[in-house]
Symmetry: C2
DNA sequence: TTGTATTAAGAGTGCTTTATCTGAAATTAT
DNA sequence: ATAATTTCAGATAAAGCACTCTTAATACAA
């Protein structure tokens, strides 16, 4: 898998938050229910994002998490970096430590161009853009087709 | 990690075989020694490649494995596919099952173009090309700096 | 002040990947 | 034949990742 499961969950949650009409505190439980993810696990994942300064969290009733910056100023790469680290954007295809211009692996040249393309894509793709698309018809975010009614969702989350 | 460790070992071994002057049976022990990989583990990995029809194996003294086709007719994608499967070339960035044109995720459009680029790169990069580069000066293949003298290597491999 | 909702933190469990080991089967050489 | 060499197959062990659960800390509301 390209991204770890933790990372995918984090990205999904971040996009979900960016897709909301206003940036306000959302409970992790609500996000987990909406995205069909284990609440406890998502909690751990989002802790990474708050510690990285991408989210702000607030405990207690009506608490939750919110984007620390405007969604236009958080890139996909920011989120990936906070959870999986920046290895994907730096690593050698053949996993050779220290692979670089001075000491390249046979695939070095092809791979670096690919990698930088990937990095560019992820750095310029913002949560704002992704959130907008998530709001469009026929564009989905959750792991399984979920019911649309938010009230129902909260009930299901118990 | 982009590729699994098994896959990386398999690719490295395949490139090593392609880098040899002629395509003849090489013992897995020799490859493992050259690449600094656990012999037993590499054995398991290469079994995947033989079962996929990419390698031919021969038991007994002077046996070993050899490329089943000319190195120019085996692509990097072939090797990756045989070990890790073709998920990397097909998967949704956000890990959503069934993500496609009809039912896209928010990152679908950006990701598919990236993915097809990756697939194209891996399909057109042949073991012949990679083997050639592995033979060039200052291009390395093994996980750690290895001695250059092939005779010495054979001795070390016992 | 007490109760409740919520995130934070960390310990614990199970599964997958990675790695090791052993014996069997095949092939060659003596 | 017998011994030596090599891949094949399966069992086992160790490590890492995904996930769960429990307890603490924090904040609000009645």
């Amino acid at each position: 898998m390209m991204l770890s499961k933790s990372c995918i969950y984090g990205v999904q949650a971040a996009i979900y938050m960016a897709s909301l009409p206003r940036n306000e505190y959302v409970s992790i439980q609500q996000i987990a229910a909406k995205l069909n993810i284990s609440f406890h696990f998502l909690t751990k994942v989002l802790q990474n994002l708050t510690q990285a300064g991408l989210l702000i969290s607030y405990r207690g009733p009506n608490g939750g998490v919110a984007l620390a910056r405007p969604s236009s100023q958080i890139s996909l790469a920011d989120v990936i970096d906070a959870i999986d680290g920046s290895d994907i954007f730096k690593e050698c295809l053949l996993g050779l430590p220290g692979c670089g211009v001075a000491d390249p692996c046979p695939a070095h040249e092809n791979w670096t161009s690919m990698r930088s393309r990937l990095h560019h894509l992820c750095s310029t793709l913002t949560l704002e853009e992704l959130g907008k698309r998530a709001n469009q018809l026929n564009v989905r975010l959750a792991n399984s087709r979920a019911p649309i009614n938010p009230a129902k969702l909260l009930t299901e989350a118990r």
